[in-house]
Structure formats: C-alpha cells, structure tokens
C-alpha cells in the first residue's frame, strides 16, 4: 500500500485527532497562564531560581506539561495519518479558540475583558493563521 493510499484510509481520524491536539495544546497555554499567576505580579524572570522553584513545585505546571505533551502527540499522529492542509488549520484554530474561550468565560484562569478591538484582532489573526498553517507546517 502506498503512503498516499494509507493516508486515504485514515482520513476519518485526521479531523478528531487534530481537534483534540489543538484543544489540548490550547489548554497547555491556559494552564501556563495559570502557573504564571502564581508568581508575584506575573513578572516571571527565567534567571530567577525562586520563580523556577515556585513553578516546578506547583501542580498546575505539571498539569500544563502533561496536557502539552498529550496535545503534541495527538498533533503529530494527526499529521502522520492526515493531510497538513486539513490538520494545520484545525490545530491552529483550536490553539487560539481554547485560551480565548477560557479567558472570556473565566474558566481555569481569571476572566478577561471582551472588547471590540480584541474580537476583531482575534478573528483576523485566527483566520489568517489557519490559512497559513495549511502551508507552513
């Protein structure tokens, strides 16, 4: 069986795997934001041992790591079984969609303000990057 035929046969999996990968990777960003909230003022300094101590001893950071690794695995498997032109935009869309929804609704992280400029910016950047993700991966 050729590589092309193999991909044809597993195309039904590419969309759910890409969505799961993107959603988990989006959640990784959300948990990372929550972890940064543990540092006073959020001013994380990579050279500070105290900051790393706070991060590495928090359960939230390890949740972020596990979620990030699972997301990456799902993403790689989706790319392996599917087409970049389909997987790229779906993953790219979910990576933006999940943190935005969590931020706007105050899920996991504190609620953030919804403004017109923000919504336009998010829609434009999501539409553009979803298209570019089909080519760029």
């Amino acid at each position: 069986m050729s590589d092309g035929e193999e991909k044809e046969g597993s195309i039904g999996l590419e969309v759910p795997l890409a969505a799961i990968g993107g959603a988990l990777y989006g959640l990784f960003g959300v948990y990372l934001k929550k972890t940064m909230g543990l540092i006073e003022g959020g001013n994380f300094n990579p050279a500070s041992g105290v900051h790393w101590g706070t991060i590495l001893s928090s359960g939230v950071f390890w949740v972020a790591v596990i979620v990030g690794i699972l997301g990456l695995v799902a993403w790689i498997v989706a790319l392996h079984v599917g087409r970049v032109s389909i997987v790229g935009p779906i993953v790219g869309g979910f990576i933006v969609f999940v943190p935005v929804v969590c931020g706007f609704l105050g899920i996991i992280i504190p609620q953030e303000e919804i403004t017109f400029k923000k919504v336009i910016g998010i829609l434009a950047i999501t539409a553009g990057s979803m298209g570019l993700a089909a080519k760029g991966e």
């Binding site: 990372l32 959020g42 994380f44 336009i120 910016g121 998010i122 434009a124 553009g128």
Partner: protein, 130 residues
C-alpha cells in the same frame, strides 16, 4: 501606548516560527535511516539516528524553541491570555515568510491575503492593549 508584553509575545512567536523549519530540516536528515530490517530492530541504526539527530539544525531549533517558550511564559505572566495566545500564531507567518525568502517558495494571492489578515489582527490586538 502598546503594552510591552505584546512585543514580547511577537518576539517569542518569531523564535518559535524560525525553529519550526529548522526542526523539519534536522529531522529530515534521519528519514533515510530505517531502524527495522527483516522485522528486527537494528540497535546500531538507532544509535545512528540519535547521532544524526544531534545536528546543527536541531541544536539551533532547540535553543530557539526554548527561548521562544520562555518568552511565551514571560508574556503570559505579564499580559492577558486572550491577547498573548492569538499573537503566538504569528509564528506561522514567520515560517511561511522564511519559506518564501530562504527556500524561494512562491506565495499565491490567497496567502498574501492571509498574511495581511494576520498583520491586521496583530495591529488590533496591540491597539486593544493601548
């Protein structure tokens, strides 16, 4: 004035965007090595894969990836997730741009339109923090 964390997020996304094609190029160097022959794992070939994986493309990609990841963490600490995470997709723009400049890949009208959308989105998100 636009908040500094917007520029931090864009810098982090740029580093990650540069790291992606370097990773691909580095990984392609091992694609010719098949560690399974006659249904048996060839441990010598696995050693070869590991040795080949430690190449300059992968090393530079790892350094850029770590720097980009730390930049993302710093930006997330200082700013809103609803601004920082969308800005991180700027990396796709950088990857496509590098493909066009370094690898002479051609861009069609739709891709120019998508690049314009990303830039407009960045302007609006920057403006939202002003």
């Amino acid at each position: 004035m636009i908040e500094p964390y917007v520029f931090l997020a864009l810098a982090a996304a740029t580093l990650l965007g540069i790291s992606t094609p370097l990773q691909s190029r580095g990984i392609k160097m091992v694609s010719d090595i098949n560690p399974i022959e006659d249904g048996k794992i060839q441990w010598g070939k696995i050693k070869d894969i590991i040795k080949t994986l430690i190449n300059r493309y992968i090393l530079v990609a790892v350094v850029l990836g770590v720097a980009g990841g730390l930049g993302n963490m710093m930006a997330l600490g200082r700013g809103e997730a609803t601004i920082v995470q969308p800005l991180m997709t700027f990396g796709n723009f950088v990857t496509v741009l590098l493909g066009a400049v370094w690898l002479n890949e051609s861009l069609d009208k739709l891709e120019y339109f998508e690049i314009a959308l990303v830039l407009i989105g960045i302007l609006f998100l920057g403006w939202a923090t002003a």
